[in-house]
């Protein structure tokens, strides 16, 4: 074959030491440098709530919070998460009680097959953190740019997030009003 296929000095198998916090618990692992954050979560830590819906970084099913910011865990190396605090969908519920955003998705039929839902909810939590409970319908729709859903048509997801944002603030005041279908 051409020498394009052979790197100048072929890397020997080598591992990287990664220490991070996942859902509040300290985790230390030795991983192949190629390991993606989503692989660390799903394959090593068996946190399979974080989904993989594409291989082009476009669907958002894999979104988790890294130091409070929504990121696509399929497009972050586990090594890059060293020292970070990661929250996955499994880290939202307190004991047996759903997080207000999870409850809002349940109440408002914000999911059908549920494949996109973990990414939607993690993105929603990031949105509320940045825009506050009064975020507008437009802010919600724009905020979901990176999250694809093949089932719901988004309408009930938007409704769920508006309601979840209110619930997170502990009220039911004047948030985004989303027109009924």
């Amino acid at each position: 074959m051409t020498n394009l296929a052979t790197p100048a000095s072929p890397p020997k198998s080598e591992t990287v030491h990664v220490s991070l916090t996942v859902n509040g618990k300290p985790v230390t692992v030795e991983v192949d440098p190629r390991t993606l954050l989503v692989q660390l979560l799903r394959d090593h830590l068996l946190l399979t709530g974080t989904h993989v819906g594409c291989d082009t970084s476009q669907c958002g099913a894999c979104v988790v919070l890294m130091d409070g910011d929504a990121v696509k865990s399929c497009t972050v190396l586990a090594a890059q998460a060293d020292g970070a605090s990661v929250t996955t969908i499994e880290g939202l519920a307190a004991g047996g009680t759903l997080h207000p955003m999870q409850e809002a998705f349940r109440e408002n039929h914000g999911l059908q097959c549920g494949f996109c839902t973990p990414g939607m909810i993690m993105t929603a939590v990031d949105l509320v953190a940045h825009h506050g409970p009064g975020l507008t319908e437009q802010q919600i729709r724009e905020g979901l740019d990176g999250n694809l859903c093949r089932c719901t048509g988004y309408h009930n997801i938007v409704k769920s997030i508006a309601a979840g944002a209110q619930a997170m603030a502990g009220g039911s005041g004047s948030g985004a009003k989303v027109a009924a279908e």
Partner: protein
Amino acid sequence: MYSFHYRRPTALNEALAVLHADSEAKMLAGGQTLIPTLKQRLAQPTALVDLSRIAGLSGIQKTAEGVTIGAMTHHADVARSPIVREVIPALADLAGQIGDAAVRNRGTLGGSLANNDPTADYPAAVLALNAVVSTDHRSIPADAYFQGLFETALEEGEIIVAVEFPQVDKAAYAKFRNPASRYAMAGVFVAKTAAEVRVAVTGAGQSGVFLWEEAGDVLASDFSPAAVDKLALDPSDLMSDLHGSAEYRAQLVKVMTKRAVASIA
């Protein structure tokens, strides 16, 4: 992904030492272009040199001339920065239109400029504002920096450290995005100073970002959307692909130019 070594230097000269010793090593910034590329096995670096632990590569500073933004500054931080909003609001608008929220939380200014994708947003701002790209050993003016499709003036292993954006009288960015990829089908950044108007176009040119000088000239004497009406951009140097023909893009560029001007005229 092919296998690679992972390096995480804490100083610029350590990073340079790795990069200069191994021409097959690659810098890793936000990874929002590089990691998808590695996943598709379109690149096979021997090592990734993660720039995230090097002090001084990120942050936003107000200067006498305008604003200086560190190479490792995330798109989301530029979009939200009160300094950028005050000095060059159009630049904050542009950063807020890149990709989606998760991409903006990881992607960086330096990574976008090093990559120089012909449909990326930042190149339009850098070229229209006549910004200066500063690297580990020199300063490169925008006019000399962009050299074609994914081509820049950067030498092998040269690290972008920051970009100096000068303040202008007025600036605006109008983007018609590809709804699937979210990159620009046509993005036009208009910057007006006392001396001139610069109109930079991304998403449309066959050889990447370019200055639409004819539009800049007419806008310098009449800064109004109507002034652009009588112009026609030559489609022969524009991209034609499944998303749109060169003729369609020529029209889009004109419309985006008018929208940008209308928003600040």
